[in-house]
C-alpha cells in the first residue's frame, strides 16, 4: 500500500469481486509468460524523509553557482530570479494540467501563452511566435527545416555561420544528416563577425536559408541587415538565432532587419540554469509563413456567448492531424518554461527589461575595460567588435588551462572557446549579467593578474 496509489487492499478486493476476478494477476493474463518481469532489482521504497535526505545528499555533492563567482555563459545565463516566478509555477492549476486541448477549462494557460506570443513576437520584430519548443538547439533545427519546406524542398543546403553556437550546429547536423540536407559552415572573419559576402557565396542558388546568431557564440553583435540582404539576394530565408534572450532588451530582433525567422533560447527569461534543462526554445516568423511553422499556437476567438476566449489553433500543421506530413513531430513542448518567461517579462515590464539589458551591457563594458588594462598576456580577442554581455578573452595559455588556473583561484572564469572545436582563437568566453557583482569582478581580475 503506497502513499501515491489510490486504493487500499480492501478497495482492490471489492473492485475485483465486482469484476468477477479472483486476483489482480488475472487482469494481466494477456501478457505472454515469456515477457514477464521477475522481481526488479531496485532499492527498497523510501519514505519521504529518507528520500529527501538522499536527494539532498546528491545536491550537496555539487558546487552551486551561489558559492563561487561565475562568468560562465555560452548559451546559459544567470539573470535575476524573482520569487514571484516560481510562486506562479508552483500553482498546481498550472503545473498539474496538460496541453490546453479543452479551452473551456484552460483559459489560464491559454491566455498566458497568448501574452507570451505577443511579447516574443514583438521582441523578435516579427508577427507571430509559437507556444515554445524544447530549447535553442532544436529551435534552430526547426527553423532550418521550415525554410527547407517553405522553398518546397528544392533547395537542399543550409548555410550556417560557424559563430552559431557549436552545440546548436551539432544538433542541426544530427537532424539534417538523416534528411539529406547539406549544411555548409562559414567561418567568421577576423573581427569575430560573420561576413555577409562569404555567406552569400556559400549559399549560391542552392540554399534554403542562411543562419546567423547574434550576439554570436563569440559574443559579437552581427551586422544583421547585411546578412538578411545576403540571404534574400540569394533567394534564401534569413534566420536570426538568439542564444542570450536578454540581449533583446536592447537589441532589435532580426525581424526589424528583414529576417524571416527569429528563434533560439529564452532561458534568460527567468529560468534557472538547472544543469542545462529544461530551458525554453522560442520561435517567431512572419504571418505569411505561419502555415509552415512548427509547434503549437494559441489564437483569440469568442465563446458561445460572444465573450473573448482563447484556444489552440491552426492545428492542421501538427502531428495529431497531419501525421507524417506535419510541420514538426513536437507534441509536448516546454509550456511551463514559457510560463516562467511570461511571468518574468511581465514582472520586469518593458522598461525593466531594457534596464536589465543596459546593466548587462554596462557591466560587460566595465569588465572589458579592466581586462584591456591588465597586460600579462590578457587581452580581448576582438577589441573593436560590438558585444552585449559576453566576449572572448585571450590569456597566457589556452582556454582549458586558463579555466583551470582561474578555478584554482576560486573563480569560474569562463567557458573555453574551443570546447567544441572552432577556427577561432583558443581563449575563454567570459559572460556577465546584472547579477555579477563588483566583488565577482574583483575576484576575476585579481585571479587573472596572478596568472601570467
Amino acid at each position: 500500500m503506497h502513499r501515491w496509489i489510490g486504493g487500499g487492499p480492501s478497495d482492490r478486493r471489492a473492485i475485483l469481486s465486482e469484476l468477477g476476478k479472483d486476483s489482480i494477476d488475472q487482469l494481466f493474463e494477456t501478457i505472454p509468460a515469456g515477457v514477464r518481469a521477475g522481481d526488479l532489482d531496485l532499492p527498497a521504497p523510501m519514505d519521504e524523509t529518507t528520500l529527501l535526505t538522499r536527494l539532498e545528499g546528491l545536491a550537496a555533492e555539487n558546487v552551486s553557482l551561489d558559492v563561487m563567482p561565475s562568468f560562465l555563459g555560452a548559451g546559459v545565463y544567470r539573470h535575476v530570479e524573482p520569487a514571484v516566478v516560481d510562486a506562479v509555477l508552483q500553482r498546481a492549476e498550472f503545473f498539474t494540467s496538460y496541453t490546453p486541448y479543452q479551452p473551456e477549462i484552460s483559459q489560464g494557460t491559454l491566455q498566458a501563452i497568448f501574452e507570451y506570443q505577443t511579447i516574443i513576437s514583438r521582441l523578435a520584430g516579427l508577427d507571430v511566435a509559437n507556444a515554445s519548443l524544447y530549447d535553442g538547439a532544436t529551435a534552430v533545427v526547426e527553423a532550418a527545416l521550415m525554410a527547407h519546406r517553405v522553398l518546397k524542398g528544392t533547395r537542399n543546403r543550409v548555410v550556417v555561420s560557424e559563430a552559431v553556437h557549436p552545440m546548436y550546429r551539432r544538433v542541426l547536423a544530427t537532424y539534417t544528416s538523416a534528411l539529406g540536407i547539406e549544411v555548409v559552415t562559414v567561418p567568421a572573419g577576423e573581427d569575430g563577425r560573420s561576413d555577409a559576402q562569404r555567406l552569400a557565396d556559400a549559399a549560391g542558388d542552392e540554399a534554403c536559408c542562411i543562419v546567423v546568431q547574434s550576439p554570436n557564440f563569440l559574443g559579437a553583435v552581427e551586422d544583421l541587415s547585411a546578412v538578411a540582404g545576403a540571404a534574400h539576394g540569394r533567394g534564401a530565408l534569413a534566420v536570426h538565432v538568439v542564444a542570450e534572450a536578454a540581449s533583446l532588451g536592447i537589441l532589435k530582433g532580426g525581424g526589424a532587419h528583414g529576417f524571416d525567422i527569429v528563434c533560439g533560447e529564452a532561458q534568460a527569461f527567468g529560468i534557472p540554469a538547472g544543469f542545462g534543462g529544461p530551458h525554453l526554445g522560442f520561435f517567431a516568423t512572419r504571418t505569411k509563413l505561419v502555415r509552415q511553422m512548427p509547434g503549437r499556437l494559441v489564437g483569440q476567438t469568442v465563446d458561445a456567448e460572444g465573450q473573448r476566449a482563447f484556444c489552440l489553433t491552426l492545428a492542421t500543421r501538427e502531428q495529431h492531424i497531419r501525421r507524417a506530413k506535419a510541420t514538426s513531430n513536437i507534441c509536448s513542448n516546454h509550456g511551463l518554461m514559457l510560463l516562467a518567461a511570461v511571468v518574468w517579462l511581465e514582472l520586469l515590464g518593458g522598461k525593466g527589461l531594457a534596464e536589465l539589458a543596459r546593466a548587462n551591457l554596462a557591466r560587460a563594458e566595465d569588465l572589458k575595460r579592466q581586462i584591456r588594462a591588465l597586460g600579462g598576456g590578457w587581452k580581448l580577442a576582438y577589441p573593436d567588435t560590438p558585444t552585449f554581455n559576453e566576449f572572448l578573452v585571450l590569456g597566457p595559455a589556452n582556454g582549458t588551462k586558463l579555466q583551470q588556473a582561474l578555478l584554482d583561484r576560486g573563480v569560474l572564469g569562463g567557458v573555453p572557446s574551443r570546447l567544441w572545436g572552432g577556427s577561432w582563437p583558443d581563449g575563454l568566453l567570459v559572460a556577465v549579467t546584472e547579477r555579477t557583482t563588483k566583488d565577482d569582478v574583483a575576484a576575476l581580475i585579481d585571479a587573472m593578474e596572478k596568472i601570467s
Binding site: V35, A59, Y134, A324, G349, G350, K438
Partner: protein
C-alpha cells in the same frame, strides 16, 4: 468545473493603460558607469523599450496569474482521465527535490569535479530505467516522447547504415499516435500505415506481406492505444528481426505493465519512456517532460552524445563517440525533470512500481465494467490501463464525443482523449491512472452514466455544454478562420 473565476482577467497589456510609471521589480544596483548603447552597439540595432508591457507592481502581476490559474482544470482539481497521457498525481516531494539549490543553480559547463552529484543523478536514473525495461542502454537526452521517438529512429537508421543497408520504409499501425509517423518522417523514413486487424491488434498476415527488405522496422505502441496488449508481440518482433528490421516501441503506455513485463524480453530495440507520464513528472500545462529512450545491445554504440560515463567512483561527460548519432538537443537532458523521476522511482521501489500498474489496470477495468452498457466499445479485447469507448450509441441522438466531453466539464471532470486512435470513430479514451481513490473513479463513472441518460432525454443540454465553466463553448472554427495570434494595441478601447 463548477467554479467560475470571480472576475474575468484582462490581458496584461490592458493593465495600467495610462502607462504611468509605477514601482516595478528592482534589479541589483548598477555600480559601474552606465554606457550609451549607441556608442558601443551598432546604432541601427538599438531598440526602444517595449511600450506595450506596462510597469506593474508585484501584487498586480501575482493577481494576474492567480486569476488566470483559477480558470484552469488540473490533476489537483479532480480526475483527469486523458487517455494516453497518464495524468497521475505529481508528488510534491519531487518538486522539493528539483528545487534544491545544488541542482537548480548549476551551470552545465561547470567542470565535472563540481557536478558529481548531478552526474550521479543521471547515472542512477540510467541504471533504474535499464532495470525497469530490461534493456541494455539508455539516453536521457530527449525532451519529450516525440523527441525520444526521433532519437530512437535515428539510431535505427544508423544501425542499418552500419550494416551497409538503406531501408526506406517504417511500418506504423493505423492506431498509432500522430507523433509516430511524424517522427519516422523526420528521421528520413517513409511512414507506411499498416491496418489493424479486426480486434485492433497487429494483423499478422498484413505484417508478413509488408515486411519486405525495404522496411527498416516497425513502430509499435505497447500496450497499443486501445489499451490492449499485442498478444503476438514476440512473434511480431521475431518476424521483423528475421527480415532484418528493427523494432521501435512507443512506451507512452508503460504505466500499464511497470514491474510486470520487460520490453527487452519483447524484442524491443528502442523504446521511449515519457517520464512525464509513467514517472510522475508534471505535465506543466504542455511540458516540459522528458522522453528517455532505452535501447537493445545493437543500438548502444549509436546512443546520442553527450552522455554520462562512470569511471570508478567518478562520473564524467563523454562528448564525442564515433558511432553516435550525435546530440539531439543542447546540453545533456531536461535535468530537473530527471531529478523528479528519480525521486519518484526511489520513493516507490520495485513493489510500488508493480502496484502502480496493478491499480492503474484495475481502475481502467472498473471504468470499463461500469460504462459498458451505456457506451459503445468498438474493440472488446481485454483492457490494461485504459479503455476506449466511443459515441456510437449517442450519435443516434445527434450527440458526439465532443458534446459528451464538454458536458463532463460541468460535472467537474476532465474529458477523455478524443483525437485518437483514428481507428475508433468518436473515441473516448479513458485512463484513470492509479492515483485517485476509488470514490473519485466511481464518481466519474456516475457522471458518465448521467450524461448517457441526458444524451437520450435532453441532447440539447449536451450540445450547449459546458454551462458551468469560466467560458462557454469556445469557437475553435472562428479562431482558425481568422487567426489572431497576438494582441494589437489598436484593440485598446
Amino acid at each position: 468545473m463548477r467554479r467560475r473565476p470571480l472576475r474575468n482577467e484582462r490581458l496584461i497589456f490592458e493593465h495600467n493603460r495610462e502607462r504611468r510609471a509605477r514601482g516595478r521589480y528592482e534589479l541589483p544596483p548598477l555600480d559601474v558607469p552606465a554606457v550609451d548603447a549607441g556608442s558601443v552597439l551598432p546604432e541601427e540595432q538599438v531598440r526602444e523599450p517595449l511600450a506595450d508591457l506596462p510597469d506593474l507592481g508585484e501584487l498586480d502581476v501575482v493577481q494576474h496569474f492567480h486569476r488566470l490559474s483559477q480558470m484552469n482544470f488540473a490533476v489537483d482539481e479532480g480526475l483527469y482521465p486523458l487517455g494516453s497521457c497518464t495524468m497521475k498525481y505529481n508528488p510534491r516531494v519531487n518538486e522539493v527535490a528539483a528545487r534544491l539549490g545544488g541542482f537548480t543553480a548549476l551551470h552545465p559547463l561547470q567542470p565535472a569535479s563540481q557536478v558529481q552529484g548531478a552526474l550521479r543523478v543521471m547515472w542512477e536514473l540510467d541504471q533504474v530505467l535499464k532495470t525497469i525495461t530490461g534493456m541494455d542502454g539508455v539516453t536521457l537526452q530527449p525532451a519529450a516522447g516525440a523527441h525520444g521517438e526521433l532519437a530512437g529512429m535515428l539510431m535505427i537508421r544508423k544501425a542499418l547504415e552500419a550494416r551497409g543497408e538503406h531501408r526506406e520504409e517504417v511500418l506504423i499501425p493505423d492506431s498509432a499516435h500522430g507523433t509516430n509517423p511524424a517522427s519516422a518522417t523526420f528521421a528520413g523514413f517513409e511512414a507506411v500505415e499498416i491496418a489493424s486487424g479486426p480486434d485492433g491488434t497487429v494483423d499478422m498476415e498484413a505484417l508478413d506481406r509488408m515486411m519486405t527488405d525495404r522496411v527498416a522496422g516497425i513502430m509499435l505502441t505497447v500496450p497499443n492505444t486501445l489499451g490492449v496488449f499485442e498478444p503476438r508481440i514476440v512473434e511480431i518482433a521475431e518476424l521483423v528481426h528475421g527480415r532484418g528490421g528493427l523494432v521501435y516501441m512507443d512506451g507512452a503506455n508503460l504505466n500499464a505493465f511497470l514491474g510486470k513485463a520487460l520490453p527487452g524480453a519483447m524484442g524491443a530495440d528502442a523504446l521511449h519512456i515519457n517520464l512525464h507520464k509513467t514517472f510522475s513528472t508534471p505535465h506543466g500545462g504542455g511540458g516540459p517532460g522528458a522522453g528517455a529512450v532505452a535501447v537493445s545491445r545493437g543500438l548502444v554504440p549509436h546512443l546520442p552524445v553527450p552522455r554520462v560515463i562512470r569511471d570508478g567512483d567518478a562520473f564524467e561527460i563523454l562528448w564525442d563517440d564515433p558511432a553516435s548519432i550525435g546530440p539531439m538537443r543542447g546540453f545533456y537532458a531536461n535535468f530537473l525533470i530527471l531529478v523528479r523521476a528519480l525521486t519518484y522511482i526511489w520513493g516507490l521501489g520495485a513493489e510500488g512500481l508493480a502496484e502502480t500498474a496493478e491499480v492503474a489496470v484495475l481502475y481502467a477495468n472498473l471504468v470499463r465494467h461500469r460504462l459498458t452498457s451505456a457506451y459503445h466499445l468498438e474493440y472488446d479485447a481485454p483492457s490494461l490501463h485504459e479503455v476506449v469507448f466511443d459515441d456510437a450509441f449517442q450519435r443516434a441522438h445527434g450527440v458526439t464525443n465532443v458534446d459528451i466531453s464538454k458536458r463532463l466539464l460541468d460535472y467537474g471532470f476532465h474529458p477523455p482523449t478524443m483525437s485518437f486512435p483514428l481507428i475508433v470513430h468518436g473515441a473516448l479514451m479513458i485512463e484513470p491512472t492509479e492515483s485517485p481513490a476509488p470514490e473519485e473513479v466511481e464518481a466519474f463513472c456516475e457522471a458518465m452514466l448521467a450524461i448517457a441518460r441526458e444524451a437520450e432525454e435532453s441532447p440539447e443540454l449536451l450540445h450547449e455544454a459546458p454551462h458551468e465553466t469560466p467560458v462557454r463553448r469556445v469557437d475553435e472554427v472562428e479562431a482558425a478562420r481568422h487567426p489572431t495570434l497576438r494582441w494589437e494595441p489598436s484593440e485598446k478601447s
